[in-house]
Assembly symmetry: C2
Homo-oligomer: 192 residues x 2
Amino acid sequence: MASEHATQPIAPETSRSTLSEYAVLGLLCHLGEPISGYDLRKVIDSSVGYIWQPSKTHVYVVLRHLEHAGLATRREVEQRGKPDKQLYEATAAGRAAVRTWLERDEDVSDPDRSILLLKLFFGAQADRNAIVRQLTAFRDSFARRLETYESMQVSPRDRVSDEFTRLTLRYGIERARASLDWADAALEELNR
Amino acid sequence: MASEHATQPIAPETSRSTLSEYAVLGLLCHLGEPISGYDLRKVIDSSVGYIWQPSKTHVYVVLRHLEHAGLATRREVEQRGKPDKQLYEATAAGRAAVRTWLERDEDVSDPDRSILLLKLFFGAQADRNAIVRQLTAFRDSFARRLETYESMQVSPRDRVSDEFTRLTLRYGIERARASLDWADAALEELNR
DNA sequence: TCATTCATGTAAGCCGTTACATGATTGT
DNA sequence: ACAATCATGTAACGGCTTACATGAATGA
């Protein structure tokens, strides 16, 4: 049994949330106004989408979770001609939780995980053409991504944009460009 | 019931393996000689580690799986003073499986997933110093990574090196450099 | 004396995806 | 007539990590 004089834990922290939960909650706070899961997904697609993207249905589960954890409130809105909506909004506790998460040092250093790269690593074991084909697809997908990012930079799609989101986007752009350049060089080398 | 004349499936494919399984199997093939799970992990650390890294114990599970699937063989080797070893080697079926995997087009385009970046995206909600601190840690970890990669490039640690592994390593280097440069610029902007 | 290396494994859990389900309305 | 949009959810499974367990030998 703990002593009466035991030091109190500094942060009570009801229970840590998952990354998805923080991401969704972060968005709720960022937006500041009630939003449905359905609309939230659209916001994601046109903003954080390139760093974090949940599956369609997962957002709904996460929102319910946040509600039960007291980090968000839910309000049902009836509509005619359309299914009802559930509007969610972050609570004060929710905003505090995001803040704590944001300011907590993480010990993760995300690796350059990539299936294509893993395959390329073993390239010697495969038909060269098959590798070149996949590398080309990789190259093209990064070219498209880069275009998307750059268009987002020129005309921010929604009210989400600020100093930090712009920095984040720059990161996406720089990395995409690095990947593209590398892929071009690699293809040239493999075709030589 | 299927007709007698039903077209045969082109590739029988016992059952798809997971990414971990292909990675381990790919390594077994690449090495060509029997190796233990324990030693395999060391090889991973000094080679593919930067694109793909399993947890300590997972390798053992995967190896057993490969054995049961007939993609690798296992041979027990008694040692004195040390625990027994299990030596694994890829079978012909195993080599074929890797080849099929390598040559199969994937429809995944891996995103720039990163916790730090997700946090930065929400940076406006947090204390600026906390963000700068974490971004600095991010910067430093990439600087260290870049150094490691570059040293690997100069002196390949083991017999794993070939044209493809070198290309893969270049990718790691280019991306790490892009991240580092971006982080430096971002820090400067945030400190201004 | 105590941590580290060698060497392998089990069991539980976590975080998330995929598949499936529903149903009215609007556009082609 | 058919697909797509709107809007939300459940259930199952999957791939991997973490925690835990074992135990002799070697080096600090």
